[in-house]
């Protein structure tokens, strides 16, 4: 059975933590402390997304930082049509896609290192094996086209709905489903050796 769509971490309401809508209302009016709470709350997931997308933590930090600075500038126009979290996912996804499209010609497939699967498979070190499997997954994800990667990561690692993904990536709902299917097709094959 698939996991249930979980409540994202940012939406949990704690007694002492105002929810996103409230923080956004404050930040829109120039309250930088409220914005800091939003950055703290959503930064880790967005960094996770950007790192999966760009394959590089330092680049991801730059991308998410710029996305937040942009969001701060654009907050006065943000009227809460979407949740802040969805809005940020859209900004970060868009930024990562642009970055990947810009560098695609320079990075051919040969630039992606081959995963060192078979020898680790027999290793008695379970941790090493598990880390190697995670690396293999990351590399298989990096084989995907930017759009496939975005759709798959947003769905499988961040629980966005098909509609939210469609908005974030800028394609239709059916195209999102198709991309996720093809991404899985590739990833199941790539991870076969790790059963």
């Amino acid at each position: 059975m698939r996991r249930e769509a979980t409540q994202p971490a940012g939406r949990e309401r704690q007694d002492d933590a105002p929810d996103d809508a409230l923080l956004v209302a404050r930040a829109r009016e120039g309250d930088q402390d409220a914005f800091e709470d939003l950055v703290h709350r959503h930064g880790p997931a967005l960094l996770g997304l950007a790192t999966r997308m760009l394959g590089d933590r330092a680049e991801a930090e730059d991308a998410v930082q710029d996305a937040f600075v942009n969001a701060w500038r654009r907050l006065p126009e943000f009227r809460g049509q979407a949740a802040f979290r969805t809005w940020m996912y859209r900004i970060v996804t868009n930024r990562c896609l642009n970055q990947l499209r810009a560098r695609r010609p320079a990075t051919g497939l040969e630039a992606v290192p081959e995963p060192a699967a078979p020898e680790y498979q027999a290793s008695p070190e379970r941790l090493a094996e598990s880390n190697a499997a995670m690396r293999a997954l990351a590399e298989a994800v990096s084989d995907l086209s930017p759009e496939q990667r975005a759709c798959w990561v947003l769905r499988e690692l961040h629980d966005l709905s098909y509609d939210e993904i469609a908005q974030a990536v800028g394609v239709g709902r059916q195209a999102v489903r198709g991309r996720i299917f093809r991404a899985r097709r590739h990833l199941t094959t790539a991870m076969e050796a790790w059963r």
Binding site: M1, R2, R3, A9, R13, D19, A21, L22, A25, R26, E29, G30, D31, Q32, D33, F35, E36, V39, H40, R41, G43, P44, A45, G48, L49, T51, E61, Q65, W72, R73, P76, P115, A117, S130, A133, M134, L137, A138, D143, L144, S145, Q148, E156, L157, H158, A175, G178, F181, R182, A183, R184, R185, H186, T188, T189, A190, M191, E192, W194, R195
Partner: protein, 243 residues
């Protein structure tokens, strides 16, 4: 490992298993949680194998999820880094007059709003959101700098909304006098959301408008709206007579 070939977009979507079932249908049944009920999927070796492949992937995905979604630690260097940039771009709003008109003393709207929100947040079960503060029309005529406040709050359902609005108004006026030294002409309180025990917002909007110090008991309007003709209906304070 081979299999580095990623199906390009628009191809391979109709790939069928040897039994004729489209792979995509098998996986979508898994997503929907209906795979177990399907008699064919349960017995067909091809479909079972396809489901198994996905389960294997899912195990790795689950680990990647937990690795990617660990919450920020405190202190959080990334947040600090972002805020260094954000704090360079101040949006403090217009300056509002403090003290007498001739005094040339000012305080920016964002600082006033922050003080008011903090005062309101101190009330149990109440949280302040948007807080706009602007010079009151009557303020200039009275020769002093007085302001009018529009405040949105969320509160828990079990509270009497009229009491909440009254308490909020009191906190704002008190904070204006004691913490800032700002004259408040009127406070409009809008209950923008009512939260139930689970924290779910109902999206109902209630509005309450009144001026401080008048002791006006607002009448009940229909649909949970208080304070007569909309949010702009604060009574004129004594002294601030018409033009």
């Amino acid at each position: 490992m081979n299999g580095r070939q990623v199906p390009p977009d628009g191809t391979g979507d109709d790939e069928a298993l040897p039994c004729g079932t489209p792979l995509r249908a098998v996986w979508e049944a898994y997503d929907a949680g209906t795979a177990a009920q399907d008699p064919h999927l349960g017995t067909c070796p091809h479909c079972t194998a396809a489901l198994h492949e996905l389960t294997v992937l899912d195990g790795f995905v689950e680990r990647a999820r937990s690795a990617d979604r660990s919450p920020a630690v405190d202190p959080d260097p990334f947040t600090t880094r972002v805020m260094e940039l954000v704090r360079l771009e101040v949006r403090s709003g217009p300056a509002l007059p403090l003290g007498g008109a001739e005094e040339d003393l000012w305080i920016v709207e964002a600082a006033v709003a922050k003080a008011f929100r903090a005062a309101v947040d101190a009330l149990p079960g109440v949280r302040a959101g948007s807080c706009r503060v602007r010079p009151a029309d009557s303020g200039a005529e009275a020769g002093g700098g007085s302001v009018r406040v529009d405040l949105e709050v969320v509160t828990s359902l079990e509270r009497n909304l009229q009491e909440v609005a009254e308490a909020v108004r009191h906190r704002v006026v008190d904070s204006a006098h004691r913490a800032l030294g700002l004259e408040v002409d009127a406070v409009d309180v809008t209950v923008a959301d009512v939260l139930d025990d689970s924290g779910q917002a109902h999206g109902t909007t209630f509005s309450y408008a009144a001026a401080p110090g008048t002791g006006t008991a607002p009448g009940h309007g229909s649909g949970g709206r208080f304070g007569g003709p909309g949010t702009g209906g604060g009574p004129v304070p004594e002294g601030g007579t018409g033009r």
